[in-house]
C-alpha cells in the first residue's frame, strides 16, 4: 500500500508544475493529518491513560482519596487476597459472568435461527427482540425487581413451591440467578442481532443442497450454520464475557449487592469501597487485578475460539 501511494505521488510530481511546490504541499498534507489526531490523542491521554497510570500508581500507596499518603509497596495487593468480601465478589462475578455468557449465546443463537427461518412478521418480531437493548438497564431492573419480589412469589405460592413462594432476591443462594435471568433477557437483544447478521451471510443454497443430501436440521446446524458463523460466535462470546465481568447496572436495582454482600460484583465493591468506604488506594489495587483478569480472560477466550474457528 505504501509503495502504491508513493508511486502515484511520484507520477504526480513528474507531471506537476514544480517538484518543490509538490514537496511543500506534501508536507502541508502531513501537517493537516497530524493536526487532526493530536487534540484527540491529548484528550484521550489526559482522560484515559493518565487515570490508568494514576490508578496503578496509587495502588502502591495508602492514599484515602484526600490528604497525605505513603508508599506501602505491595501491601494492598497482599491484603486483597486475604479480604473475604473481595474474594467473594470475584467468585460471584466469575460465576455470574460464565453462566450468563453461555446462556445468552445459546438463547440468542436459537432465537436468531428462528428469526432467520421462513416466518411471518419477521421484521416486527426482530424489532421486539431488540427492544431490551434500547432501554436503560437500571430502569428496567426496577421493573424486574418488582416481578421477582411480588409477582413470582405469588405464582410460586399458587404452584405450592416452597422456594418460589418467597422473593428469590432475598434468598442468599438464589438471588444471583435472578440477576442472571435479567442479564440474559437484556443482553440477548444485541446478541440476537449480531447472530442474525451472521446467519444472513450464509448462502441459502448450502441448506438446499444439504437437505437434498438428506441432512437433518440438527446435522445442518453443526455442519453448516455453526462453522459459517464461527467469527460471530467468537465476537459474541468475548463481548458477553467482558461485559458481564463488568456487571454493575443490573445489580443496583435488583439486589443492591444483597442480601448482605451475596451479590456484590467486583465493580460494585470498587465503587463502594472507593467512594463510600475511603479505601481509594486499596480499591485501585483491586481494579488493577480486575483489569489483568479481564484482559487475560479475553485473550484466552480469543485464542481458544479462534483455534476452533480455523479447525472448523
Amino acid at each position: 500500500m505504501a509503495s502504491v501511494t508513493s508511486r502515484t505521488e511520484q507520477t504526480a510530481a513528474e507531471a506537476g508544475p514544480a517538484p518543490g511546490a509538490v514537496r511543500r504541499r506534501r508536507r502541508g498534507v502531513q501537517l493537516t493529518f497530524y493536526l487532526m489526531v493530536i487534540p484527540a490523542f491529548l484528550l484521550f491521554f489526559i482522560f484515559h491513560t493518565v487515570p490508568v497510570l494514576q490508578g496503578v500508581f496509587y495502588s502502591f500507596t495508602d492514599y484515602a482519596g484526600y490528604g497525605e499518603w505513603n508508599f506501602i509497596g505491595f501491601d494492598n495487593y497482599a491484603n486483597i487476597f486475604l479480604d473475604e468480601r473481595v474474594r467473594h465478589a470475584y467468585v460471584f462475578t466469575l460465576q455470574f459472568a460464565v453462566v450468563s455468557t453461555i446462556l445468552v449465546n445459546v438463547v440468542a443463537l436459537a432465537v436468531a435461527i428462528g428469526l432467520n427461518g421462513r416466518i411471518k412478521f419477521r421484521n416486527l418480531l426482530r424489532g421486539v427482540f431488540f427492544l431490551p437493548n434500547v432501554m436503560a438497564i437500571l430502569v428496567v431492573g426496577y421493573i424486574f425487581n418488582y416481578l421477582f419480589s411480588y409477582s413470582l412469589p405469588y405464582i410460586g405460592q399458587k404452584l405450592g413451591s416452597a422456594t418460589l413462594s418467597t422473593s428469590i432476591l432475598a434468598n442468599e443462594n438464589l438471588a444471583w440467578l435472578a440477576i442472571v435471568v435479567f442479564a440474559v433477557w437484556q443482553a440477548a437483544a444485541f446478541a440476537i442481532i449480531l447472530y442474525l447478521a451472521g446467519l444472513q451471510t450464509i448462502p441459502g443454497e448450502l441448506y438446499e443442497a444439504a437437505s437434498i443430501d438428506g441432512a437433518g436440521a440438527w446435522r445442518q446446524f453443526w455442519s453448516i450454520t455453526f462453522p459459517m458463523i464461527a467469527a460471530f460466535f467468537t465476537i459474541n462470546m468475548v463481548l458477553s464475557l467482558k461485559n458481564f465481568m463488568m456487571v454493575f447496572d443490573h445489580i443496583i436495582p435488583l439486589t443492591n449487592g444483597g442480601p448482605g454482600t451475596a451479590t456484590e460484583s467486583i465493580s460494585l465493591v470498587i465503587y463502594r469501597g472507593g467512594f463510600q468506604g475511603g479505601d481509594f488506594a486499596y480499591q485501585t489495587a483491586n481494579a488493577v487485578l480486575y483489569f489483568v483478569l479481564i484482559v487475560t480472560l479475553s485473550l484466552f477466550q480469543l485464542r481458544i475460539l479462534q483455534r476452533r474457528e480455523v479447525s472448523a
Binding site: 489526531v37 487515570p51 490508568v52 482519596g65 432501554m135 436503560a136 430502569v139 411480588y150 437434498i212 472507593g274
Partner: protein, 299 residues
C-alpha cells in the same frame, strides 16, 4: 469440512435440477412456517410481558396491587404520571439527558470520524498505526480501573457537570468508534479524494467536502451506538455529576428507593417516562436502527 460438504451438495443440486423438469414445480418458493412463527411470537412475550406489566402497574392505585399484578387497572389512575413528573423533576432530568445525548452524538460524529480518517489514510506509518492500536486497546480497560482517578480529575477541572460528561463520552467513544470508522474508510476508494487533492483542495476541505458526506451509513451506526450509550448510561453520570440539578433520567429514579419505596405505582409511571423517549424513537425508526447496528457488527 463445510466447504467439502457444500461442494458435494452443489453437484447434487445440479443433478437434481437437471432431472427436475420431468415433474411440474408446484412448490411455492417461500412457504411460511406457521409453527415456527407461533413459537417466535410466544418467545417474544418474554420481552413484551414485562413491558405490559410496567404499563398496567403505572396506571394502578396502590391498593389495586394485588395478586401477581397482571390484571388490568380499573379505574386507571393517570395522576401517577403527574406525580412522577413532579417528584423526579422530569423536565429538568429529561433536558439534561437530551443535552448530554445530543451533544455527545454530534461531537462524536464530527470529531471521531476525522480522527479515524487521518489514521486510515496513514496506516502505513508506524505512528498512526500505533495510535490506532492505542485507541482500540482501551476497549479492554474496564471503567472501574479509571473511575476513581477520573472522578478526582473532573472535579478538579470543574468538569463534574453536563459538559464534562459530553467530553468523556466523546473521548472514551474513540476506542470503539475509531475501530468502526477505520474499517469503513478503508473500503472507500481513494480515487475520489485523490482527484480532489490534485485539483488543489487541502486535506481538510477534502475530508469535509468529499469524505464526510460519504460516511452517512456508518455515521448512522456510530450515532445509534452513542445515543443508546449516553441516554441509558448509569455509572458514568453517577460518579461524575456532582450537582442534583445536573442529574440525568436514570439517576433521578433513585428518588423512589428512599422514602417513597412503597409507592410502586408512581415509580412505575416514572420508569415508563424515562424509557419512553428512546422507545418511541426506536419504534418509529426500528428498521433503520437495527440495520445500523448490524452494519456496525459486520465491519
Amino acid at each position: 469440512m463445510s466447504t467439502q460438504q457444500s461442494m458435494a451438495g452443489t453437484t447434487t443440486t445440479a443433478v437434481a435440477a437437471a432431472t427436475e423438469p420431468a415433474r411440474p414445480r408446484r412448490r411455492p418458493r417461500r412457504t411460511v412456517n406457521w409453527w415456527l412463527t407461533a413459537l417466535m411470537i410466544v418467545l417474544s412475550l418474554t420481552v413484551l410481558v414485562p413491558l405490559y406489566f410496567a404499563v398496567i402497574t403505572a396506571l394502578k392505585t396502590p391498593d389495586q396491587l394485588t395478586g401477581a399484578g397482571f390484571g388490568l387497572p380499573s379505574p386507571a389512575r393517570w395522576e401517577n404520571f403527574a406525580e412522577a413528573w413532579r417528584l423526579t423533576h422530569f423536565p429538568r432530568a429529561a433536558l439534561n439527558s437530551a443535552i448530554i445525548t445530543v451533544g455527545a452524538v454530534i461531537l462524536t460524529l464530527l470529531t471521531n470520524s476525522m480522527v479515524a480518517y487521518a489514521i486510515s489514510r496513514n496506516m502505513h506509518r508506524r505512528l498512526f498505526k500505533g495510535l490506532f492500536l492505542y485507541f482500540v486497546s482501551a476497549l479492554f480497560v474496564p471503567f472501574p480501573i479509571i473511575m476513581l482517578p477520573v472522578v478526582k480529575l473532573t472535579a478538579n477541572l470543574r468538569l463534574d457537570n453536563q459538559v464534562g460528561l459530553i467530553l468523556l463520552y466523546v473521548v472514551y467513544g474513540l476506542a470503539l468508534n475509531v475501530f468502526i470508522y477505520v474499517g469503513y474508510l478503508q473500503s472507500i476508494p481513494r480515487e475520489l479524494e485523490e482527484a480532489a487533492l490534485t485539483d488543489g483542495a487541502s486535506i481538510w476541505t477534502t475530508f469535509w467536502r468529499v469524505i464526510f458526506p460519504l460516511l452517512g451509513p456508518i455515521n448512522a451506526t456510530v450515532g445509534i451506538i452513542m445515543c443508546l450509550w449516553a441516554w441509558n448510561d448509569f455509572l458514568l453520570p453517577l460518579v461524575i455529576l456532582s450537582s442534583p440539578d445536573a442529574q440525568t433520567l436514570p439517576l433521578v429514579q433513585y428518588v423512589f428507593q428512599g422514602q417513597f419505596s412503597t409507592n410502586y405505582t408512581v415509580a412505575f409511571a416514572s420508569y415508563l417516562m424515562a424509557l419512553a423517549p428512546l422507545v418511541i424513537v426506536y419504534i418509529v425508526a426500528q428498521r433503520w436502527v437495527i440495520s445500523g447496528v448490524m452494519r456496525g457488527s459486520i465491519k
